[in-house]
């Protein structure tokens, strides 16, 4: 039996007092603070025990008033809070806070679907609304709108969008589909952004910027408030879509393929995030490493070839789709066929999808949630985990190739399997380098940690930075954004200190620390 870790500045008595007040105000069932509760909020993929990020428990509001009450009590006691929507941010720390002793504000049970506008394709939802929950709502009410879902569908629309997560339909840049937020500020006041700043404005969910300064992005990947409602845009179900999986046999194929895809993305012929991954993408979802190889070090190239043969995949595989009214979809498909005609040995194997046909087999490409990709954690055997190092590159085949060679070498020198994907966005590539490990193998987790640190440094040297990161590395990654002595972080800190003088909201999120906890952390 171990006691809850205390947040800095609180002793046991003042902590117990704060918890007592929370219980009295919220009710016992909304304060989850047993030892077992704390264990359920540890990062399931932690590099180590995860106890360095152990919360002091969780608070589970079901209303805006609950959130305001929590923020009020937290201010009075300087109790730090870590807001999560469904807290399924696996690979980035899940629901665990940066700072041990922080209380998780878990919005899982604040999950009302307040409105779905079928005519203009938007919804108003609370943060706890999950992808599966929304999927059932749309199905049950026969609403022909699609969500954009990440490859882990266990989480929430709002949490994913606030973390700048991505999906794979044309609406896949999820944070760009937020249209007005309701936020409890660090002083407990309620703010609505965008047109929602006008009480009763009828176009709140239709226009993003509002009048004057536009704040929505201020609440993404930050610690300036707790979002309690969001409007999000949904995609009208297309009349027709086509989907295909394309295999490229050789490593070097990434050079020309990235260039072709980038052009199609820029011109708008392809308007979704294209996942372009190496063979481990499929192998790790269906099999484990031990099925193929039990030697030490990274998988040798001849074993890699065997895996590719078995799954009938090449070194690279990518998923490509087109969506639209029938003539639009047909025309786009034709343009893609033309762009790849002289490059591929066989025609692109398109599969059509029309309204009413089952979308499940196409999963994320058709806005249907699934969680099967979580199986990658089984790859190494034991209690698996993974973290992804994801720098953003310009969408160039040459730059992708250079990044590929350098990262692969780093993985192999560390004795870890190279698993990577290059997700092609509108004008960028998100190069997700997945490090898979067995949590119970201390040597392997140390290597995973060291490799991650190495890659942060390598990328900085090359002039690239990550778009999102794990709680272990938020300080390190934020420091790579170093223009003019870290001027952006000084701006973040000035905002933080003004809005949140007690430093209660998510200390350390993306490297932003409140004044009272900053000393000695930021150089």
């Amino acid at each position: 039996m171990s006691d809850a870790p205390l947040p800095p500045g609180l002793d046991r008595a003042s902590f117990d007092k704060a918890l007592g007040e929370l219980r009295k105000t919220l009710g016992d069932d909304k304060v989850l603070a047993t030892e077992l509760d704390r264990q359920t909020y540890l990062d399931p993929y932690a590099l180590g025990t995860g106890l360095d990020h152990e919360s002091c428990g969780a608070l589970t509001p079901t209303s805006v008033e609950d959130v305001q009450a929590i923020v009020g009590i937290a201010n009075a006691h300087k109790l730090p809070l870590w807001p999560v929507a469904r807290g399924k941010n696996l690979g980035y720390g899940a629901a665990a806070p940066v700072l041990a002793g922080t209380a998780v504000v878990d919005m899982t049970r604040m999950n009302r679907i307040l409105d779905v506008d079928t005519e203009f394709a938007h919804c108003t939802i609370e943060p706890g609304v999950g992808f599966y929950q929304m999927d059932e709502h749309l199905t049950a009410n026969r609403i022909p709108l699609w969500m954009s879902v990440p490859a882990n569908g266990w989480g929430s629309l709002v949490g994913n969008a606030l973390e700048r997560g991505i999906g794979y339909t044309p609406y896949g840049d999820n944070t760009s589909k937020l249209c007005g937020l309701e936020v409890v500020m660090p002083d407990g006041k309620l703010v609505r952004t965008g047109l929602g700043a006008m009480d009763g404005n009828k176009a709140w969910a239709n226009y993003q910027y509002g009048f004057g300064t536009s704040w929505d992005q201020m609440f993404a990947q930050s610690n300036f408030g707790i979002v309690t409602k969001a409007n999000m845009w949904l995609m009208p179900e297309p009349e027709l879509s086509f989907h295909a999986l394309v295999n490229l046999p050789r490593m070097e194929d990434i050079v020309w393929a990235m260039d072709v895809l980038a052009k199609l993305r820029l011109s708008g012929v392809v308007d979704h995030n294209v996942v372009f991954g190496n063979y481990l993408h499929d192998a790790s979802a269906m099999t484990t490493r031990a099925d193929w190889y039990d030697g030490p070090g990274p998988i040798p190239d001849d074993v890699a070839e065997k895996i590719q043969k078995k799954f009938n995949v090449g070194w690279w595989t990518f998923h490509i789709s087109v969506y639209g009214d029938e003539p639009v979809a047909m025309a786009k498909k034709g343009l893609i066929d033309a762009a790849f005609k002289d490059k591929l040995a066989t025609p692109i194997p398109w599969v059509p999808l029309r309204p009413g046909e089952p979308r499940e087999p196409l999963a994320v490409a058709a806005g249907k949630p699934f969680v099967l990709p979580l199986a990658v954690v089984n790859w190494m055997g034991g209690r698996g985990g993974h973290i992804g190092f994801s720098p953003i590159l310009p969408p160039s085949g040459k730059l992708a190739w250079e990044a590929f060679l350098r990262r692969k070498k780093r993985f192999e020198a560390m004795g870890l399997d190279y698993y990577s994907s290059f997700t092609v966005g509108h004008r960028h590539i998100a190069n997700v380098n997945m490090i898979l490990y067995d949590r119970d193998d201390a040597e392997m987790t140390k290597k995973a940690h060291d490799l991650f640190v190495q890659m942060i440094g390598d990328a900085r040297e090359e002039g690239y930075g990550e778009y999102r990161t794990h709680i272990d590395f938020m300080d390190a990654v934020s420091k790579t954004y170093d223009f003019n002595g870290g001027a952006l972080m000084r701006l973040n800190e000035a905002v933080k200190d003004t809005l949140d003088p007690n430093g209660i909201i998510a200390p350390g999120k993306n490297g932003i620390w409140p004044a009272r906890l900053r000393k000695g952390r930021v150089a």
Binding site: L32, L36, D37, Q39, P44, A58, A140, G153, V377
Partner: protein, 129 residues
């Protein structure tokens, strides 16, 4: 217009009643049924509805949990819903502590009352001692 399957049709009604269901705090299965009307409609009992709502992500056909168990223990033991050998305490321990690739599940996600319902469902066919 999309074609509505029989399930979707039956559901128009259910979804409308969901707000009322959620209010009924005395019934620990109400919230799961309100959150997941499609799963509730194809469930044969409120307990099954809770299992589908909270564990269905991974433990139905082709789920991550099902496929992992299939590989480790064979087809007979792959689907939790068909098992007759799971002890209640074991299910509770796995849910709150996690098991290999299965992350621990919080009491915000699955309340104690819901876990009771899930345990009743998963042990319903166990041989009587």
């Amino acid at each position: 217009m999309i074609k509505a399957g029989p399930i979707a049709l039956a559901l128009g009604l259910l979804a409308a009643g969901s707000a009322a269901l959620a209010q009924n705090a005395a019934d620990p299965t109400a919230r799961a049924r309100a959150d997941f009307p499609v799963s509730a409609a194809i469930s044969r009992s409120p307990d099954e509805a809770v299992f589908r709502a909270r564990c269905g992500y991974c433990h139905l056909e082709m789920g991550f949990g099902t496929l992992t168990l299939m590989k480790a223990q064979g087809p007979v033991k792959a689907l939790l819903a068909n098992r007759t050998d799971l002890e209640g305490d074991y299910v509770r321990a796995v849910v709150r502590s996690g098991l290999l690739g299965m992350p621990a599940i919080t009491r915000a996600e699955v309340t104690d009352g819901e876990l009771d319902a899930i345990v009743r469902y998963l042990t319903r066919n166990n041989p009587r001692k």
